[in-house]
Symmetry: C2
Subunit: 225 residues, 2 copies
Amino acid sequence: MSESELSGGAVRGKNRGKSAKARAERHEALANLLAAEIQSGALSPGQWLKQIDIEERHGAKRMDVRRALDRLVQKRLVVHLPNRGYHVFKPDGRLAQEIRAVRVILETSAVDGIVARAREEDIAQAMRLARHFEALLLNGTAIDLHDANIAFHEHLLGLCGNLELAALVKELRGRISSAVAGQWQKRSRIEQSNREHLAMVEALAARDTEALRRLVGEHIQQSAE
Amino acid sequence: MSESELSGGAVRGKNRGKSAKARAERHEALANLLAAEIQSGALSPGQWLKQIDIEERHGAKRMDVRRALDRLVQKRLVVHLPNRGYHVFKPDGRLAQEIRAVRVILETSAVDGIVARAREEDIAQAMRLARHFEALLLNGTAIDLHDANIAFHEHLLGLCGNLELAALVKELRGRISSAVAGQWQKRSRIEQSNREHLAMVEALAARDTEALRRLVGEHIQQSAE
DNA sequence: ATCTTTGATATTGGCGCCAATTTCTCGCAT
DNA sequence: ATGCGAGAAATTGGCGCCAATATCAAAGAT
């Protein structure tokens, strides 16, 4: 098997200076980028994702595009039709409702752990994140608000002590954020979310489990339309 | 190897019958096959999955192997180390405990919907599945018992009215089934599970929500070691 | 004798090319 | 004019080849 005669010493294909790790995680980075674009609404539901477009737009290689799209299929963010291509998943109303119900179950159940484990500095951090969201109310982009909202909720959920639960909710949130991509079109709703964030932090600071549980449940259901 | 050589025929286009679909889903079938091997314990945790071995063993192409392995990474069944390869994920004790906790939350929350929606025929079917499990107590293989157990629980959960919740629990169960692959080694535990199945059906038939909730929670926690 | 270095081997991973398939376009017959 | 169908263009998907990297083995140095 070792008849590797290096014929023609011509140096072909110059290797890039990229590290191996960067290469290995390139498709993952692309998948996250596309996921963010979908969740932020930059890519609208139903839209076709042509491999060549992504390839050129993000300067990625064909293989990375394929693996990234395949990963998004796993995450149920895009749909794959063989020999037709990939398109952004158009969430069903029923699906969104069911996922919201699951989120209510998980996140309200997590409240006990959150209240039990939250230290003063954790609460202070939660307050900082809530205020950061508030600060973006005036002159923040939709994506900024989205990120700040995610950061707040992930911090809170991370306090519950069950990393799997937190990861699961994160995944679920990403699955329907595209469905309700336009949920923050109305400023009144953003402001309402902000008030609820602050109320949640207050309830946490007061160690009021029941109040926090109620607020969390309402906060999730509030995003329904 | 010539596949579709349409000689002299004016028929073109519409050849979407099965060959194309079979190709498109080949990697998915391989992924499911490998997942089953992992969950059944045929592939032990930590074991390296060399691409060439899988390729030859299952008569698959390299690409399908890669895609299947990548999919299993998404499912958290295998771990990928760049330039090192893929190996079967070795579940952590903490992870298993956290997933069990999430399952308790979800499945006990599903009880309300189950009791509310279960018709008499659904209960009868649950009883059939429980008895099928019982019938396998004596001369059924571990895999038979595993499948029968899955069938029982999936039927029950399917009654809750939230398809996403059911799918989520199914995924979670598959994620730690490898961890506790040897959970049915002790006959006493199998018999205990069987008794709990029957008790759950009884509670459902009696529409006793609280009893069913308690049984479900205990049944999940009981599988801990 | 043991540790280090260096070469050999095995395995993974990236990339380009072309076939398979679908979609588009335009000519043709009715 | 319109429906039909064949060729053309575009897109996806499969596959082999070779480079990059890790692992193994053996020779050499201290």
